[in-house]
Chain length 328, copies 2
């Protein structure tokens, strides 16, 4: 029997989940929930029912695992505990500083209702967190580094769009190759924010806006740009549409440690992603962890989990025997 | 209270385990077992007792987890099931084709005695197996590749040493950069054995041996060299000692997948290791999984496990709360 997946929220991430479910023969998409008018959605999956988000509870028996595809700022802090009342849920909550309180809220909801949840699933948090933890556990005398990009940062793009005179913007975070090479060499360098990443901005101006002022306001923006070497390129709306519509991303987790009685040997662990589509990759991770949520639910588990608590055997479609014979 | 670690077998791997335990403040080395005369060993750890391997059973209450540091060819198939009678055990059994039968033997021993074991721990099998499985589970429409090196292959070095006229040899497995780049590009290439790796051999000849014959015999050796582009360098014993004493290794697991309804986006996952000391890194992985074995034993678990079954939270010295707050 297939694992019946429901999607809550049908934006980039929800559509990515739909595509990923389509690639996994042990799953089927049985419901999409939306806050928009259900009839306004045009799912890719033939005949999948679309329901109003407010009616989700009525359809809980049609879904084994509900994947929450809302945003971390305002949607998930409310939705994940709410829907954990009725469903096994998986979310991609990515506000690192607020993960402990989100975990506590979701865990409490799960314990009350006897359900299971996996939160903060994706690549960072998610696979990058796993890479950091595997490496740090194995090489305790070492130092970890995370580099992001080259890729589009939605948060930084949005920040530029709020500058007066900006019509549209796309910000790429770019890791500094020399910094990554220094880490790979095993020298364990201390790196400042500025040494690790540069920021490249592509900006479409509104008519009459002053490019010098816009550029200055971007480059001086605290937190977002002031601590980085930032480049601003002014382009036309046509060029934006033609060359900057995709959402590539990726990055690398590096851990440089030393072993031996006198710590005479350097050991470097590196985990990298090169993604043509950031939301579709995140969605693919969510769907794999939905399989784990399903299995934990079947096993009667209750409470909130993160990627740290889930063995990889639970996200694989292979049986333990198949895994040992073919992947070990 | 510290986790009390025992080491069975005090070669490169055993000494590496000793060094790794030394780096983990929640552990202490409480026993070394050897088949040699105990008094002939000179451990690095002050005052650690050295016992005869045959007496291990008598010391089972001094050890929480026994790490088996023998070879996969003849030691571990016997030792792991044997010592699982009395100890929680961890081994690095790396004969991929025989893992299912080794698992079955160890699991049966554990079930009979109520103990827990983790087998095939290291980097391949081990971390590379994890990387392959995470990536394949997340990107089911994709293809995995494993590249090894640049590093010393002990098996291939031994094979050369068996050629008549060879006094000493060191064989480096070298991944082909163009092949790795082709995979990273997302094109999903079909690669032959010859296209993925080359083999570089450094050979010290016995006096009077014919270099042309030795080179030919190496290059034509089936399984080991015949399917590869192999280079043979003849060097002096002094050069061997000076430049080829270390045991570096490493490699990369790459997985290239496609996502989207029409599979329009390429996604590449890469996991790489750059190791100055292959045995010390493997030892460090063993020690981290000894922590997991200890915790599973404390939780009353029984039976054989692999890295696929062990969530990363169990190998970390941090608490789940610390992990969520600092690593997620």
């Amino acid at each position: 029997m297939s694992i019946r997946i429901g999607i809550m929220g049908y934006g980039n991430l929800g559509r990515g989940v739909e595509c990923a479910v389509h690639q996994n023969p042990d799953m089927e998409l049985t419901a999409i929930f939306t806050r928009r008018a259900p009839s306004s959605l045009h799912p890719l999956t033939p005949n999948v029912p679309v329901y109003s988000a407010g009616d989700a509870q009525l359809h809980k028996d049609e879904v084994d695992v509900l994947i929450l595809c809302g945003g971390s700022a305002t949607d998930l802090p409310v939705q994940t505990p709410e829907f954990a009342q009725w469903f096994a849920v998986v979310d991609s909550f990515d506000n690192h500083a607020h993960i402990p309180e989100h975990f506590a809220a979701v865990d409490a909801a799960c314990r009350r209702s006897g359900t299971v949840a996996v939160i903060s699933v994706g690549w960072d948090p998610g696979l990058f967190s796993l890479a950091r933890t595997y490496a740090a556990s194995i090489l305790p005398h070492g130092k970890g580094y995370t580099f992001w990009g080259k890729g589009v940062s939605q948060g930084h793009s949005d920040a530029i769009r709020r500058v007066e005179g900006v019509q549209d913007a796309r910000q790429y975070t770019v890791p500094v190759p020399a910094a990554m090479d220094a880490v790979r060499s095993g020298s364990g360098p201390e790196l400042t924010t500025r040494q690790k990443h540069t920021r490249e901005c592509y900006v479409v101006l509104k008519e009459g806006a002053d490019p010098a002022r816009v550029e200055r306001e971007i480059k001086e923006m605290p937190n977002y740009f002031a601590d980085y070497d930032t480049t601003v390129h002014f382009i036309s709306a046509e060029e934006m549409a033609r060359n900057h519509a995709a959402l590539p991303h990726g990055g690398s987790v590096l851990h440089s440690g030393r072993t031996g009685w006198e710590e005479e040997h350097g050991q470097v662990v590196e985990f990298s992603l090169h993604l043509d589509s950031n939301p579709e990759f995140t969605s693919s991770v969510l769907v794999a962890y939905a399989r784990a949520a399903y299995r934990m639910k079947q096993a009667g588990e209750q409470g909130c989990r993160t990627v740290f608590d889930v063995p990889v055997s639970l996200i694989s479609s292979k049986t333990p025997e198949e895994l040992r014979a073919s992947m070990l």
